[in-house]
């Protein structure tokens, strides 16, 4: 079987995006956006695949899939009822899961609630045993307790079990005994043990992560096996799953570690940015994705997305930040994203005090913005763009979606003018400013707050609405360059096609650097590499395509947080000096100071295990020199840089072949997006069809 095509499938909340890449011509064979079928997300996929020609289905190299199934299950979506799950833990500590960090998520809400405990108290079983932080056994495990627990697991028809004992990161022996006994005594039960899922210290985070894994295992396994079976009926190919960390893994590994795939969709947007950077030969970017309901920002530095290990599924977000304690905490690698409820569908409204506000409520796909004429009565960001002439006044999606200008105007008149005496144009201008102000904050969170200067980055703007705000946002952050990919609305799905296999393996150490010998550390890393090799081999990666990147999680002795520092290329002579030095420098960079006299504690050894896949090569397009293009229309539109309405040329994206240069103010329309180029910005089309928009200095 040939392997000419690579397929990416991104199932989101509203839409399922499918892209088929033809490796021979180096371009997309087809791209599809269809409605998601929430009850059985595989249905939409299979229907779409059925429509593909035999020629494609017979020569698929592999399929890469991003899914929201895990998040949906935890958020209580219908049809995804959580399985009956139990926890086995050390005697005296079964409530660690429920007490958490003892904080309440909202300070002033007297009616707050914790997210419902994933395992009720009577399914949290205690076993008499105890380790200390060195892994010494203080009290041996009581097998009699285990007999009773097994009995109850069977009696209550428990489907999945999480095992999390105190200090198991230091010595997993007791967890292993329990795991083996469970396997031996109970048929067909799913088991998640904490030293395998998240082998780090801090008991609540480890237990929570293990429990979430246990709860998801039956659902995710069933879903992936079912999808695999159905797809294999149409085309016999491998399916790989996108992880929140921006790597892929086999269906088998995703089923064992479903905590790894929680945010696979948003991760693919950032990975698409990384891919684009590699193609154009740039190393650092700010990735900005603005869709219908939310905007997301992430950073790629030196071709690598920034990773965080703290996340809460289903948590509430306040201007870009997850509110601690509002969701289910997971400690696992995630691409670091900041999010705000601002998108094309965000509703513009006037609050009780008479202030103009944007979001967080969105008109969503139904009823949608007022101008869609689907019954939406409230003005949205899309309506604001329309009022200001920035969107096509008659249609969108190349004519697939009719637009009603008068309905947009009416919505502003009714909901804004009648309350605060701002006419529709004033209100629309104000709303865009407020939305930009909100979105510039999430961009600052992933750059300025991480010690990165945004003016050193190129802004990659995508999602249907991203390219409309890119220039204004770049101005806010003092960024000089913007890149708009060819299909901004499908860009995330494209990101799926270029991702390597990735796994992160961790071994807890917790020793000061002067009491940890080089040999000891080297042995730990070697063992982790052996494990990594086995995992990659099982995924079909050959040895020459394996890469191992070593890191150390370190902190000053007594601190509460670790920094992840690279630990490649260290030998026995300079080891302690080099590690300490790298840590001091990292601390200085991130926090503005270092304490060279303090002891450095090595908390974990961390190994990124990477299996390279070949990247699809994009076709270069020929540059046409000095080819003048004519606008297909002209219209009056408001530009923030000019602060008034002005007649501007409007072009179609397909007119923009490589080499074309345009000066703002100008508008470009395409199927899945509209691009606004403000005054003092110049657009150049590169050889891949991307738009590079640069700020012109004053004398140009």
């Amino acid at each position: 079987m040939s392997s000419r095509y690579r397929i990416g499938i991104d199932i989101g909340g509203t839409f399922t995006d499918i892209v088929v890449f033809d490796k021979e011509i180096g371009d997309f064979k087809l791209v599809k956006k269809i409605s998601t079928t929430p009850a059985d997300p595989s249905r939409a996929v299979i229907e779409a695949l059925r429509g593909f020609s035999r020629d494609i289905l017979d020569s698929v190299e592999f399929i890469i899939h991003a899914t929201t199934i895990a998040t949906n299950a935890l958020l209580g979506q219908e049809g995804l009822e959580l399985p009956r799950t139990a926890l086995i833990t050390t005697k005296g500590f079964r409530d660690i899961l429920e007490i958490g960090r003892q904080r309440r998520p909202e300070l002033y809400n007297l009616f707050f609630e914790r997210p419902k405990s994933l395992i009720p108290r009577h399914y949290r079983f205690e076993i008499d045993e105890r380790m200390n932080h060195n892994g010494d056994i203080i009290k041996g495990i009581n097998i009699m307790d285990l007999d009773k627990i097994v009995e109850r697991l069977i009696k209550h028809d428990i489907k999945s079990v999480a095992v999390s004992l105190l200090h198991s990161y230091a010595n997993p022996e007791h967890e292993k005994i329990i795991e083996n006994e469970l396997i031996r005594r109970i048929k067909s039960i799913y088991i998640s043990v904490s030293h395998k899922v998240d082998p780090e210290h801090r008991e609540f985070e480890r237990t929570s992560t293990t429990v979430i894994n246990a709860v998801l295992m039956p659902i995710v396994t069933r879903y992936l096996r079912n999808l695999e079976k159905k797809i294999n009926n149409l085309t016999r190919t491998k399916i790989f799953i996108m992880q929140s960390s921006g790597g892929i893994e086999s269906i088998g590994n995703a089923s064992r570690l479903p905590v790894s795939i929680i945010e696979s969709g948003p991760a693919s947007g950032v990975m698409a940015t990384k891919y684009l950077l590699e193609i154009i030969g740039r190393s650092d970017a700010l990735s900005f994705d603005m869709g219908g309901t939310t905007a997301k920002a992430g950073a790629v530095i030196n071709f690598q997305p920034i990773i965080t290990t703290e996340y809460e599924v289903g948590g509430k977000v306040h201007v870009g930040r997850i509110i601690k304690g509002s969701g289910y905490p997971i400690r696992f690698p995630f691409i670091d994203l900041a999010e705000v409820s601002a998108g094309g569908g965000s509703i513009i409204w006037v609050d009780e005090g008479g202030a103009l506000r944007v979001g967080p409520i969105s008109a969503g796909a139904e009823p949608g913005p007022a101008c869609y004429g689907k019954g939406g009565e409230k003005p949205t960001i899309t309506d604001a763009h329309l009022i200001l002439g920035r969107l096509n006044k008659k249609y969108l999606l190349d004519g697939d979606l009719k637009i009603y200008f008068d309905l947009a105007k009416e919505s502003f008149r009714k909901n804004i003018y009648n309350l605060v005496n701002l006419d529709p144009v004033e209100a629309a201008i104000g709303a865009l400013k407020i939305a930009n102000s909100l979105m510039s904050k999430i961009m600052r969170i992933v750059s300025v707050e991480r010690g990165i200067n945004p003016s050193d980055l190129i802004l990659v703007a995508f999602g249907g609405a991203g390219p409309m705000h890119a220039c204004s946002l770049a101005e806010e952050l003092n960024m000089k360059e913007i890149l708009i990919p060819r299909s901004p609305g499908l860009f995330s799905a494209i990101g799926l096609l270029s991702v390597d296999f990735k796994h992160t393996l961790i071994k807890s150490i917790r020793k000061t650097i002067d009491s940890l010998s080089f040999d000891e550390l080297e042995n730990i890393f070697r063992r982790l590499e052996e494990t990594g090799k086995k995992i990659l081999l099982s995924e079909g990666i050959s040895k020459e395509n394996m890469i191992f990147n070593r890191f150390i999680d370190a902190r000053y002795l007594g601190q509460g947080y670790e920094l992840i520092i690279p630990a490649n290329g260290i030998n026995s002579e300079n080891y302690a000096y080099l590690i300490s030095n790298r840590f001091h420098n990292a601390h200085e960079r991130k926090y503005g100071y270092s304490l060279v006299d303090e002891k450095v504690e090595v908390v974990n050894a961390r190994l990124d295990v990477i299996g390279l896949i070949n990247k699809p090569k994009l076709r270069l397009m020929r540059t046409r020199k000095n080819k003048a293009i004519e606008p297909f229309a002209k219209r009056e539109a408001y530009f923030e840089s000019i602060d008034e309405f002005i007649e501007v040329p409007v072009f179609k994206r397909i007119q923009l072949s490589p080499g074309v240069k345009l000066n703002g103010p100008v508008i470009i329309e395409q199927y899945d997006s509209t691009i606004i180029v403000e005054e003092d910005w110049q657009l150049i089309v590169d050889n891949y069809g991307n738009l590079l928009i640069t700020k012109q200095s004053g004398d140009n």
């Binding site: 005296g92 007297l110 914790r114």
Partner: protein, 551 residues
């Protein structure tokens, strides 16, 4: 025409700036207290010292920050660009000595436009015991170093002598220095952002927008208050004792709702006492602000305007407005909780649907210190423990959580056991402790510490004698219990005391449960069944309390 839009953008930017200051402070701080427990706040003020925005993690800093800046404006003669004023004096708008505040004037083109301030809880500022929060102090001098408002940095030049003096008064000078530097970094971030903001909008529009922001919040707050029935209600509640004198201490309030105005009058509260539970006025104000915001609309941006419709009246020399040189460490952590309780009690007669029954009403401050037998070095371990949250109309209280004036995190057990000669034997919800009711109170927590070397224990808690009350027929939650198990025998402890510990002692802290709401007879039997099934209540306890026999 663009006024309300400019206002919204400036308001949002200032709010974000305060948050960003907080993140800079947390990131660059050295101590776990700031880094992990997030015991700090940042705020921005205009040139009259009026609060424009505040990012706080702990409500107890709410009212104290505005008072602090106001008193600094009165006290400091001349502000210059590059001045950083440091202070912690509770009798100058401070809260208690470990809370150190740093204020920086903000100049633009030579004109004073405002102030940036941040406050952080330092884990030791000297005094008679590590942690600077002795439960048995009488005078503030026992609690640590008092810093009046002084310029730590004058016109951009650090006064090293002042810094040296402060550091040499702490048991952990290196960590103090790191944290103070972090506080400077936070204000610097604020200065930078404010400069950019004003240069974008111009001084005039900036100042006008601030005025508009304050009026906007006032308007929304008055509107919210106007929905509260006009009424006058009196309520009182008690603290166990002062830790020195074994006698209950009364906190009393008269709440008056007058159309769009509120008056909280605490004049009938008991006189200040020997002991540390005296609250300086700033603490009482913070607790009052907390209640105001939580019973109205927490989404109203908190600033000077928000608080204009509220008048807080106290009598000098009472436990809610103590005078120099009374000790105050417990006022901040314990009395503040009782002030909230008594206000909620009063409001339960005005807004019965909006107020919860009493929550645990204490922070359970635990300090264990001594020599670590593993290293021979001195250690101090400090933490606070959550308890039951009061039941609400339509909802049970929350189990095992911090309530009202605090929200700090616990310390991971796997961290404690490595760092201190302490082994945690138990950390669990306290069965049956939530007051029964149509909606039940949240459960308290049991935490047990085994001490692996000789040491000292200092506890600062409350609600051992006066249980967290229920509302409208709801039963009270269990009171707190602290005790030591030594050689198999229980030694009961008072809620505020310091005692010697012997190797092998087990310290058990049982925290109070929340009060119930509504008559327990009306509780849905299915909910009772669920409580028993989930092993949060015993069958026998339910039978005795409610006369219900469950199978």
């Amino acid at each position: 025409m663009m006024d309300i839009i400019t206002m919204e953008i400036i308001r949002g930017s200032l709010e974000y700036t305060a948050e960003e200051m907080g993140i800079a402070l947390r990131n660059s701080a050295y101590s776990t207290n700031i880094k992990e427990r997030m015991d700090h706040s940042c705020a921005i003020f205009d040139n009259k010292g009026r609060l424009i925005t505040q990012a706080e993690h702990i409500p107890v800093h709410l009212g104290a920050m505005p008072l602090a800046v106001k008193s600094i404006i009165k006290d400091v003669e001349d502000f210059n660009e590059g001045d950083y004023i440091i202070f912690n004096d509770p009798y100058y708008g401070g809260t208690h000595l470990p809370d150190i505040t740093l204020v920086t004037p903000f100049f633009y083109n030579g004109e004073l436009l405002g102030f940036l301030a941040n406050r952080a809880h330092h884990s030791d500022i000297g005094g008679k015991i590590p942690g600077s929060m002795p439960g048995d102090a009488i005078e503030i001098f026992e609690e640590g170093l008092i810093i009046p408002p002084i310029k730590l940095i004058k016109r951009g030049i650090l006064n090293r002598d002042v810094l040296k003096l402060i550091l040499s008064n702490s048991r952990t000078p290196k960590i103090r220095k790191g944290d103070i530097m972090a506080q400077i970094a936070a204000n610097n971030i604020g200065l930078d952002r404010l400069k950019k903001l004003v240069s974008k909008f111009g001084t005039k529009r900036f100042m006008e927008s601030i005025e508009a922001v304050l009026n906007y919040s006032e308007r929304r707050m008055r509107k919210a208050i106007s929905k509260i029935p006009s009424k006058t209600v009196y309520a009182e509640d008690y603290l166990d004792d002062s830790g020195i004198v074994n006698k209950p201490i009364k906190i009393a309030v008269e709440v008056k709702v007058k159309k769009t105005e509120l008056i909280f009058d605490f004049s009938k509260s008991d006189a200040e006492v020997d002991g540390s539970i005296n609250a300086p006025f700033a603490v009482t104000l913070s607790a009052s602000y907390f209640v105001l915001r939580s019973i109205t609309d927490p989404t109203i941006p908190a600033n000077d305007g928000t608080y204009r419709p509220l008048k807080v009246i106290t009598k000098k020399g009472t436990v809610v407005d103590s005078t120099f040189p009374r000790a105050v460490a417990g006022g901040n952590v314990e009395t503040s909780q009782r002030i909230v309780d008594v206000l909620f009690k009063a409001f339960s007669e005005i807004l019965p649907d909006k107020v919860p029954a009493a929550s645990q009403g204490t922070m359970n401050n635990i300090v264990i210190g001594g020599i670590d037998p593993r290293t021979g070095e001195q250690y101090t371990f400090y933490e606070t423990i959550g308890g039951g949250f009061g039941a609400r109309k339509g909802k049970d209280g929350v189990d095992g959580v911090h309530s009202n004036m605090t929200n700090t995190m616990n310390t991971p057990i796997e961290e404690i056991e490595k760092r201190y000669p302490i082994m945690i034997l138990k950390y669990e919800l306290r069965k049956n402790s939530g007051g029964l009711g149509k909606w039940r109170g949240g459960l308290g927590i049991i935490r047990a510490y085994k001490i692996l070397g000789d040491g000292m224990l200092s506890v600062l808690g409350d609600r051992h004698k006066f249980k967290p009350w229920g509302l409208f027929g709801g039963k009270p939650g269990f009171s707190g219990r602290y005790y030591i198990i030594r050689n198999g025998r229980e030694i009961m402890l008072r809620s505020k005391c310091s005692v010697k510990l012997l190797k092998g002692d087990i310290v058990v802290i049982e925290t109070p449960g929340g009060g119930g709401y509504g008559d327990p007879v009306e509780r849905d039997i299915e909910l009772i069944r669920k409580d028993v099934l989930e092993e949060k209540y015993d069958k026998d306890f339910i039978r005795i309390a409610l006369g219900i026999e469950l199978d």
